[in-house]
Structures are given as structure tokens and as C-alpha cells.
């Protein structure tokens, strides 16, 4: 009995179909003016990868600087700029759009059986906004960077810095609208464009997750926008909304900022969870355990996500009593995540599991996200938050969630849908290796930070007491491994574009609508709009299909 489910067409005869969304039209303009969600997704994938590696390079610099206790590699202000740019690039230009704008953009219309997103022009517009935001960030970097930290804390950002706060703010503002439009587009599409028979509870969990994330994008981002606008006004004209010298309250800014930036965390992680649901189900050959629970837990996370932001401010002199409310709600929002983890785990139960690369990344996600989530409870609990917040513990925590969770999910998704996207398989063995390297490197990098954080090493320090060095050395060493782990996929995926095996329609024997059409798909996805008469993850249906094919081919 084989250990893989990969079933590729006979390579000697198989070809990647001549007509597909990539070959439909040629020329730069056909890309820059395209309305096709798959092409826009491709554009996004390229630009996002670009910024991911910029952010990664900055992260490398940070780790190098922290190799020694003194700030000897770079001056403190340079270091401050580096970690600020790292934060801005990674959060606003990579994490927030990563899965939704690439995989979501590519898959949601196909998964619900539509020809395209509801608003292709808006979709393209949101990519252009993203690019503008990106260019502004690059401009900021070239013209001396900014050192507010990605949180733009007032009055530091308004009165005490003379770096490019404005251009960065504008970049965040623009990028924010890009994500608003993406989310808006998804919600409309999922509501209005579902194929006949595609009821809400037949939707793949990937779609549910994106629906939840989109709600957060649409309702959260504008509050960040107005906060940024007020900061800009305060910098330029000196109005006094947040200025303590004029009677404003700087903590109000924090409220507005975190009202978006906490839900933003769920904007980042929810789509990743969607990916994991698809991957786990496919490689366990099993319907996701407790489909409804997982679906609703996504929505629950989205809704609760709006009620917990103040747990970023427990020590900032907010009212002690309000921390009770927010801490309690934070505990509630932790529960749906737990539900998801256990449901995925039990999806494996009595499955028929194989261990292709996406599954490995998915396992990585489940392990690391569990740690990230649990350490999140440490910070949501008011008492322990006092000691742990603003230290490397919190850095480790959100890197476990964002890098260990989100990035693993992103890579899982990229590998999983790569054959669909390009029509060719990635090389399995080396990619499995890459997954392993990433996992090891990641733990080496970030686990020591939990300890050094508990010991009290503050975040955003260019120089630190000598006794913390050894753990930082571990961390930096791990970061180099991690770097390799991220470079490998870039290389072999590029290689596979030309030399990868032809994938055929459904290499994974998966059940989603996207796997029933040619890969790469046609410009409008379907020859005719499918009529859906089955639930998601219906593997019996898939078996019946195969039998049918066999009999017809025999007959």
C-alpha cells in the first residue's frame, strides 16, 4: 500500500493545458489591467513575496545586532528604525494580505463556484493600493526610515521624532484601504456569487474563515485609518486630540489603534486556519471533525475579536476595573481557538493519513499555534501580563502565532495549491526537508525568547544586559536556519515552474470544487457554472466520481 495519495497523470503524455488564465492573454498590460482574480492573486503573490523577504532581511539584521549585548553592529537609532520597518513591512505588507489576497483571492470564487470575485475592478484597485503602500514604505526606508515602532505610540510619534512618520502613516493608511476593499469584495462575493446549491453549510471552511476575517477587515481598519489621520494632523497642524500638553489623552490613541490592531491579529490568523482545515481534511481523507463547530468558531473569533483590545494596555494606566472586563472577554476568545485545534486533531482520528509537505506544515501549525495560543492566555491574564508584557515573552508569543502559525499556514497553502495554480508539482522530498528545517529553525529562534522574556529582557532593546546573551545567541543561530528554511521554497518553487511534474486536475484527490477543474484554471474558472449537490469534504462522492470515470472510459 503506497504512502502517498498523489496521483499524477502519465507524465509521458500529460501536458499543462494550453489555454489557462496564465496564457489567455500576453503582454504586461494584460496583467496590469486584468480583472481576473487569479491573475491579481498572482500579482499579489509576487509583490507579497518581495516584501516578505525585505521584512525577513530586516529581521536578520535585528538578530545580528542582538548577537552581542552592546549595540555594536548598528547605532541604537538605526536599530530602532530597523525593527520599526520590520514590523510595518511584515504586518501591513505581508501578514495582513498574505493568505487572503493570494490564496483567498485565487480560491474563493472557485470554491463557491463563481466566475470571478463580485468586483474585479475593486480587486485590482486594492492591489494597486497595496503597491502604493509598499512603495511609500520603500520610500520611507530609502529616505532615512522611521523609528516610531509599528504602533505609532503618541506623543512619541507626534511630538518627539523627526523621522518619516507621515509617509509611513500614509503607507499604512493606503495599505489599510487595500485590505478594506479585499475584505469587502470577499463578503459580497461569498454572499452573492455562490453557485446554485452551494448553501452556507456546504462552503469549505477556508471560505468561512475568510468570511470572518473579511468582517474584521471591513469594520476594524477604518478606525486605524482615523487614528493615523489624527496623528498626521497632530504632527502637521498641531491639533490637540491626543496631546497631553493640550489636555488630550494619549491613551485614547491607544484605544483607537488597538481597536483595529487587535482584530488585525485575527485578520492575519483566521485565513491561515482556513488553509489548515482544507489541508488536514485532504491528507486525512476525512471530513473535518465537527464542521459546524469549526465554521462557527471562526465567526465567534471575529465577533469576540472586537471586544478584547484593551488587553494590550493593561499596564498603561487604564482603569483597573475595565481590565477585568477585557481580560474576561480575552479568555472567552481563546476558547474558539482551542476548539479548532482539537477539531483538527480529531479529524486525523480514523483517517487515512499521508505526510506530503502541506500536511507537514499543517502539523507544524497545530503544534506552534497551540503554544502561541496558550502563551497568549498568559498575556490575557491581568496578573501575569504585568510581568510578561513589553518583554521578549510577548515577542516570542506573537511570533509563535504569526510566524509559527500564520506563515506555516501560508506555506502549507502555497504548496497545497501550487499544482492548481501553476499546473506543476513542487519537488516533494526537498520541500519536506524545507518544512522540517523551517520547523527546527523556528523553535530555535523563538523558544529561547520565552525564557529571556520571562527573565525580563525588554523588547525593542538594541543593547541588553550581558546575562541574556546566550539565549539571544541561540535565537540568532536559529534565525539563520529559519532563513534557509524560507529561501529553499523560493528556489525550488521557481524551479518547479518549468521542470515540475505535470499535476493534472486533482493531484491530491481532494474534494473541493477547485480540484474538479483543470489546473491552471481557465480565465473564468468553469466551463459552465457547477450545480452543487454535496457537502464539502465529501470523499465518498469523490470515490463515486472516480468509479464513473473508470466505467465510462471502459465503456
Amino acid at each position: 500500500m503506497s504512502t502517498t495519495i498523489v496521483s499524477l497523470p502519465d507524465q509521458s503524455t500529460a501536458r499543462v493545458p494550453k489555454t489557462n488564465f496564465l496564457t489567455k492573454e500576453n503582454g504586461l498590460l494584460s496583467w496590469l489591467l486584468t480583472g481576473d482574480h487569479k491573475r491579481i492573486a498572482t500579482l499579489y503573490l509576487i509583490s507579497i513575496t518581495f516584501f516578505f523577504f525585505i521584512g525577513g532581511a530586516l529581521a536578520g539584521l535585528i538578530r545580528l545586532e542582538l548577537l552581542t549585548p552592546q549595540s555594536d553592529l548598528m547605532a541604537t537609532d538605526t536599530y530602532n528604525k530597523v525593527f520599526t520597518m520590520h514590523g510595518v513591512v511584515m504586518i501591513f505588507l505581508f501578514l495582513v494580505p498574505s493568505v487572503p489576497a493570494t490564496l483567498g483571492n485565487f480560491l474563493i470564487p472557485i470554491m463557491i463556484g463563481a466566475k470571478d470575485l463580485a468586483l474585479p475592478k475593486i480587486n485590482l484597485l486594492s492591489w494597486y493600493l497595496y503597491v502604493v503602500g509598499g512603495i511609500l514604505v520603500l520610500y520611507t526606508m530609502i529616505t532615512g526610515g522611521v523609528d516610531t515602532g509599528w504602533t505609532f505610540t503618541v506623543p512619541l510619534s507626534t511630538h518627539y521624532l523627526n523621522t518619516n512618520v507621515l509617509s509611513t502613516g500614509l503607507a499604512v493608511f493606503v495599505a489599510g484601504f487595500s485590505s478594506i476593499f479585499t475584505g469587502l469584495n470577499f463578503i459580497v462575493t461569498i454572499h452573492k456569487m455562490r453557485a446554485p446549491g452551494m448553501t452556507w453549510f456546504r462552503l469549505p471552511l477556508f471560505v468561512w474563515a475568510h468570511y470572518a476575517a473579511s468582517i474584521l477587515m471591513v469594520l476594524g481598519t477604518p478606525v486605524l485609518a482615523i487614528a493615523i489621520v489624527l496623528v498626521a494632523l497632530e504632527r502637521t497642524t498641531g491639533i490637540g486630540v491626543f496631546d497631553p500638553a493640550k489636555g488630550g489623552d494619549p491613551i485614547l490613541f491607544q484605544h483607537l489603534f488597538w481597536f483595529y490592531s487587535h482584530p488585525a491579529v485575527y485578520i492575519m490568523i483566521l485565513p491561515g486556519m482556513g488553509v489548515i482545515s482544507e489541508v488536514v481534511s485532504t491528507f486525512a481523507r476525512k471530513r473535518v471533525f465537527g464542521y459546524t463547530a469549526v465554521a462557527f468558531s471562526s465567526v465567534a473569533i471575529a465577533v469576540f475579536g472586537f471586544f478584547v483590545w484593551e488587553h494590550h494596555m493593561f499596564i498603561m494606566g487604564v482603569s483597573n476595573y475595565s481590565t477585568l472586563v477585557f481580560s474576561l472577554l480575552t479568555m472567552l476568545v481563546a476558547v474558539p481557538s482551542a476548539i479548532k485545534i482539537f477539531n483538527w486533531t480529531f479529524t486525523l482520528y480514523k483517517g487515512s493519513i499521508t505526510f506530503e509537505t502541506p500536511m507537514l506544515y499543517a502539523f507544524g501549525f497545530m503544534g506552534l499555534f497551540t503554544i502561541g495560543g496558550l502563551t497568549g492566555v498568559f498575556l490575557g491574564t491581568t496578573g501575569t501580563d504585568i510581568h510578561l508584557t513589553e518583554t521578549y515573552f510577548i515577542v516570542a508569543h506573537f511570533h509563535f502565532v504569526m510566524v509559527g502559525g500564520m506563515l506555516m499556514a501560508f506555506l502549507a497553502g502555497i504548496h497545497f495549491w501550487w499544482p492548481k495554480w501553476t499546473g506543476r508539482m513542487y519537488p516533494e522530498k526537498i520541500s519536506q526537508l524545507a518544512a522540517l528545517v523551517t520547523f527546527i529553525g523556528f523553535n530555535f529562534t523563538f523558544f529561547p525568547q520565552f525564557i529571556v522574556g520571562t527573565l525580563g529582557m525588554p523588547r525593542r532593546y538594541a543593547a541588553y544586559p550581558a546575562e541574556f546573551q546566550i539565549l539571544n545567541v541561540f535565537s540568532t543561530a536559529g534565525a539563520t536556519i529559519l532563513g534557509v528554511g524560507y529561501l529553499l521554497p523560493l528556489l525550488y518553487l521557481a524551479w518547479s515552474l518549468k521542470y515540475g511534474e505535470v499535476a493534472g486536475n486533482n493531484p491530491w484527490q481532494a474534494t473541493g470544487l477547485e480540484w474538479q477543474i483543470q489546473s491552471p484554471p481557465l480565465t473564468e474558472n468553469f466551463v459552465e457554472i457547477p450545480v452543487v449537490d454535496r457537502d464539502a469534504y465529501d470523499y465518498e462522492w469523490l470515490e463515486r466520481q472516480k468509479e464513473k470515470e473508470v466505467t465510462t472510459s471502459v465503456g
Binding site: K115, K192, E524
Partner: protein, 253 residues
């Protein structure tokens, strides 16, 4: 596989078999679906707008409770006449806009153009009045950050006409300084609102041109409808700004 691609290569022929109205985007199954989708999208966009202004309203609420006296005398600086006039203007413009949508639905080109122009003019009128009000503030140095002066609050008599109206007590210096917060919010809120008006007016100008070319009287009025939604939303924002900034703090403290 191969023949399926063949069919798709014949996509235009395929489209020819069941014709769409020219303005139906090809990825929609029916015109109804397109209309629903676009107007739903517009509503979601308005949602983001609500949250955008939401931040400002929150700030206003908090500071009004902190610095009530400053907000009282601050609002006394606003001319209730102009405020009311502006509200009337904006409501009327909302009405003409609604009529515009109606005449588009009825495919009455002349009427449509007429109402759009009316809305356009009323919008300009609103901005005109706002400019007058802003001008006053600039004269009195009540623009935060630009040589802001609390003279007319620490010594209320120094500000003749306002004093005759309201006979405010002079504020102690510390509270008087907080009027700057009031005006910060006043300019932030009305400024954001005015910005939305300007965008709206620009779109209106564009629409008028298209409408005269008969663009919206062929039965496809989504654009007009959605713009209507936007315009009414801007109206609603003002419906709240007007009492908050002009009315609710008129009486002493």
C-alpha cells in the same frame, strides 16, 4: 479535457447565445445579481465610513465630558444660524438626490440631469457656508495649532457679539486652554465631513456629464443609486455633527 477547453475558446460565441445587456459584467449570472452585489458592496463601504467617523465621535464624547465648560463656550463660537442653514441645505440636497434616483428609475433624462445639478449646487452652497464659518475661526485665531488664542474665553467680554448673545463667564486659563481640544475636534469632524462632500461633488459633476449623455436612463442605474447612498450617508453624518457641535452645549455650566 481538450474539448472542454475548445468550448471555452468559443466563449464569445457562448455569450452570444444568451445576450446580456451591454452593462452587465460578464462574470455575473444575471443583472439582478449584479445590482444586488454592487449595492451590497456600497453598503459595506458605508459601514467602514461609519467606523471611520466612529473614532471621532468617541473622542468627542470623552472630551466633552472632561472639559464641559470649554465645550460650552467653544460651541458658543459657532453661529447657530449658519449651522441650521447648512443642515437645511444638506437635507434638501439629499431630497434632490433621492429625486434624482427616482427620475433615473423612471428613465426621465431631463429630470435626472436637473436634480443632479440641484444636488451639485446645494453641495457647493454647503461648502460655501462652511468656508464662511471657517473664515470666522481663522480671524479669531480659533484654529488649533495656528497661533491659537484663548483670549475670547479667558476674557469673554473681549469677544463682543458672542458675549452679547450668551453672557458667558470668563473661563479660568486652564479650562480656557482646553477649548483648543474642542476646536481640534470641530475641525477634524467638519473637515472630514467636508472632504467627503468635496469627493461627492466631484463625482456629481462627472455624473451630470454622463447623465446628459443618457448613461443612467437606459435602466441601468446602479451607479446613481449607489452614489445616492453615499450622499445620504454624508447627510446623516452631518445630522449628528450639527447637534453635537452646535446645539447640545448652548446653556451654561
Amino acid at each position: 479535457m481538450s474539448d472542454s477547453t475548445a468550448i471555452v475558446n468559443g466563449a464569445p460565441a457562448d455569450a452570444h447565445e444568451h445576450p446580456h445587456p451591454p452593462y452587465q459584467r460578464h462574470h455575473f449570472e444575471s443583472m439582478g445579481q449584479q445590482v444586488d452585489a454592487t449595492s451590497f458592496a456600497m453598503w459595506l463601504f458605508l459601514l467602514t465610513e461609519v467606523m471611520f467617523f466612529g473614532g471621532l465621535f468617541t473622542a468627542y464624547l470623552i472630551y466633552r465630558n472632561w472639559y464641559y465648560p470649554a465645550f460650552v463656550v467653544g460651541s458658543h463660537q459657532l453661529d447657530i444660524f449658519w449651522g441650521t442653514a447648512n443642515t437645511a441645505v444638506l437635507i434638501t440636497s439629499s431630497f434632490t438626490m433621492a429625486m434624482g434616483v427616482w427620475s433615473a428609475e423612471m428613465r426621465r433624462k431631463g429630470l435626472l440631469v436637473f436634480f443632479l445639478v440641484m444636488t451639485f449646487l446645494l453641495g457647493l452652497a454647503f461648502l460655501g457656508i462652511k468656508t464662511i464659518e471657517y473664515g470666522e475661526k481663522i480671524e479669531k485665531h480659533h484654529v488649533p495649532g495656528f497661533h491659537y488664542s484663548v483670549q475670547s474665553f479667558v476674557d469673554s467680554r473681549s469677544d463682543k457679539e458672542v458675549f452679547e448673545k450668551y453672557h458667558d463667564k470668563s473661563l479660568p486659563l486652564d479650562m480656557a486652554r482646553h477649548t483648543e481640544v474642542y476646536f481640534s475636534l470641530y475641525f477634524a469632524m467638519t473637515g472630514m465631513h467636508a472632504l467627503h462632500m468635496i469627493i461627492g461633488i466631484a463625482i456629481l459633476a462627472f455624473m451630470i456629464v454622463r447623465a446628459r449623455a443618457g448613461a443612467y436612463t437606459t435602466g441601468h442605474i446602479t451607479f446613481v443609486e449607489n452614489f445616492g447612498l453615499y450622499w445620504h450617508f454624508v447627510d446623516i453624518i452631518w445630522i449628528f455633527l450639527f447637534p453635537l457641535l452646535y446645539l447640545i452645549s448652548r446653556h451654561g455650566y
